[in-house]
């Protein structure tokens, strides 16, 4: 068997549309989407909590679906559209879910909040959660060590109801 020793640094060219802006980037193949967003593009709203897919702080919307950006490689998403917390406000107006988090005080330290909000928007688009129990279940991938769950759940339920009317 031929031994293929990997080249020390393999870079690939990709195109990503991030928050509506097209980026043509050359990335080292082992760069996670999270590290690309934070370290390279300085979009530090997306947080690195555990970097293991356990906390949800890194949640972004990839082609409209919520995912953990820490557990995917940037190079795997050539041509994709990504929405982060920085891309939710439109024309200077916060996304209604963002505004609701502020109005209802659905956080304390705020570190998990960008992930919570992106996850909530993903949940609303999926359309599977209807009851409080279902919201709690389908938001379980986002941990809040301050324990702001009560208000977070209320905000998501309200946003769900608004999205139906």
């Amino acid at each position: 068997m031929e031994k293929n020793t990997p080249s020390p640094i393999q870079k690939e060219s990709i195109m990503l549309t991030i928050n509506g802006t097209v980026h043509r980037l050359e990335v080292e193949v082992w760069t996670t989407l999270l590290d690309l967003l934070r370290e390279r593009l300085k979009l530090t709203g997306t947080k690195k909590g555990c970097d293991q897919g356990q906390c949800g702080a890194c949640t972004v919307l990839l082609d409209g679906q919520r995912i953990n950006s820490c557990l995917t490689l940037a190079v795997m998403h050539d041509g994709s559209e990504i929405t982060t917390i920085e891309g939710l406000a439109q024309n200077g107006k916060l996304n209604p879910v963002q505004q609701a988090f502020i109005d209802r005080d659905a956080f304390q330290c705020g570190y998990c909040t960008p992930g919570q909000i992106c996850s909530a928007i993903g949940l609303i688009q999926e359309g599977k959660a209807k009851t409080k129990a279902e919201v709690r279940e389908l938001m379980s991938g986002n941990l809040c060590r301050c324990g702001a769950y009560t208000h977070i759940t209320e905000v998501v339920l309200e946003a769900l109801e608004r999205s139906r009317t």
């Binding site: 068997m1 031929e2 031994k3 293929n4 020793t5 990997p6 080249s7 020390p8 640094i9 393999q10 690939e12 193949v29 082992w30 996670t32 970097d51 293991q52 897919g53 949800g56 949640t59 679906q65 919520r66 995912i67 953990n68 557990l71 995917t72 490689l73 190079v75 795997m76 996850s119 993903g122 949940l123 999926e126 599977k128 709690r136 279940e137 389908l138 938001m139 379980s140 991938g141 986002n142």
Partner: protein
């Protein structure tokens, strides 16, 4: 993560030949478990083969009444697919009992089957683990083994398989379809994962040069009488201490056919076909279910911290069977 080379492939043949030719090469699909393990240096591929461009995303009806689940369909797409929800609700529930919404959006059906154990010693490079490093020993054996196996383990490994989906697939008697250098074959779920024996570094009977292309579900989905019952330390987003997948075919209160698989207790979804047969022709009642639960745990052997699992498994079996046959607890 350690450096590696990467290639996106556009054909199954190309993927399989790259697996064969490139040293220490691994397939990446969703990546939710592989990248996690690469970050902690438990898995160190030299080459990643990205198969997301392959046409393996479909969920479609098969001739003869079964269902085909593409290897690259996400766990979420599968669980919420109308044909799965309607005809195989056991599978749908099991998938939704695992991981989080974010992970299920990314994780694929093929990858779910190939995810590695969550044994904490497997993840911890500072401890001995025969699965991670053959012949280094098993730190779990005399360590904190609360989450570990009570059936089918060996002195070399007491890890459990973490998948919920696989437990339902075992009860449904699904088959895994794979392509290798010698062509395609299908493997019954009962033979897909393996017991640790003296080589726990090998999780499944999939050959190193084979690629999972899909999963075949047989026509019978037990949509009338089923249950997936998962017992865990928190109500959501946690691995099973014990889980039970049940499918029953019934006529009135009589059981004609029973399919039962246990999760969280062994290196593979645990089935005892002889014990399932004990229920055939029997009335659905607690006493008959207790007989099955005793038979399922025959030969079980617990460790210092997981003795509770034997009783928990028996009671979870009974409760899941009661649920599946619509009996009040």
């Amino acid at each position: 993560m350690k450096p590696f080379s990467y290639q996106k492939v556009m054909g199954i043949t190309e993927a399989v030949s790259d697996l064969k030719e490139k040293n220490q090469s691994y397939i990446i699909a969703g990546g939710t478990n592989l990248l996690d393990l690469m970050k902690v240096h438990v898995m160190q591929p030299q080459h990643l083969i990205d198969i997301n461009g392959l046409k393996l995303h479909d969920i479609s009806e098969r001739d003869g009444g079964g269902l085909h689940l593409g290897a690259l369909a996400s766990n979420a797409q599968t669980a919420y697919h109308p044909l799965v929800e309607g005809r195989y609700p056991l599978l749908s529930q099991a998938i939704l009992a695992g991981a989080s919404a974010q992970l299920r959006n990314k994780a694929t059906n093929g990858g779910n089957l190939l995810q590695r154990t969550r044994c904490s010693y497997f993840y911890d490079n500072s401890t001995s683990c025969n699965k991670r490093e053959p012949e280094s020993g098993c730190a779990a054996l005399h360590g904190y083994n609360r989450d570990h196996a009570i059936l089918g383990h060996s002195e070399h490994c007491i890890a459990t398989h973490p998948s919920d989906m696989a437990v339902a697939l075992a009860a449904l008697e699904a088959r895994v379809v794979a392509t290798g250098p010698d062509g395609a074959r299908s493997i019954p779920m009962a033979d897909f994962h393996r017991l640790p024996s003296n080589n726990p570094q090998v999780d499944s009977n999939l050959e190193a040069e084979e690629l999972i292309t899909g999963i075949q579900l047989p026509p019978e989905g037990f949509a009338e009488h089923y249950a997936y019952l998962k017992v865990r330390d928190r109500a959501s987003y946690s691995f099973a201490l014990v889980s039970v997948a049940v499918g029953l075919r019934m006529e009135g209160n009589t059981i004609l056919k029973a399919r039962v698989a246990l999760g969280g207790v062994a290196h593979k979804p645990w089935r005892v076909p002889g014990a399932e047969e004990l229920l055939e022709g029997k009335e659905a009642d607690r006493e008959n279910f207790k007989v099955l639960s005793e038979a399922y745990l025959t030969g079980s052997e617990a460790f210092k911290h997981n003795k509770f699992k034997i009783k928990l498994a028996k009671q979870t079996l009974v409760r899941a069977l009661m649920q599946a046959s619509n009996l009040k607890l």
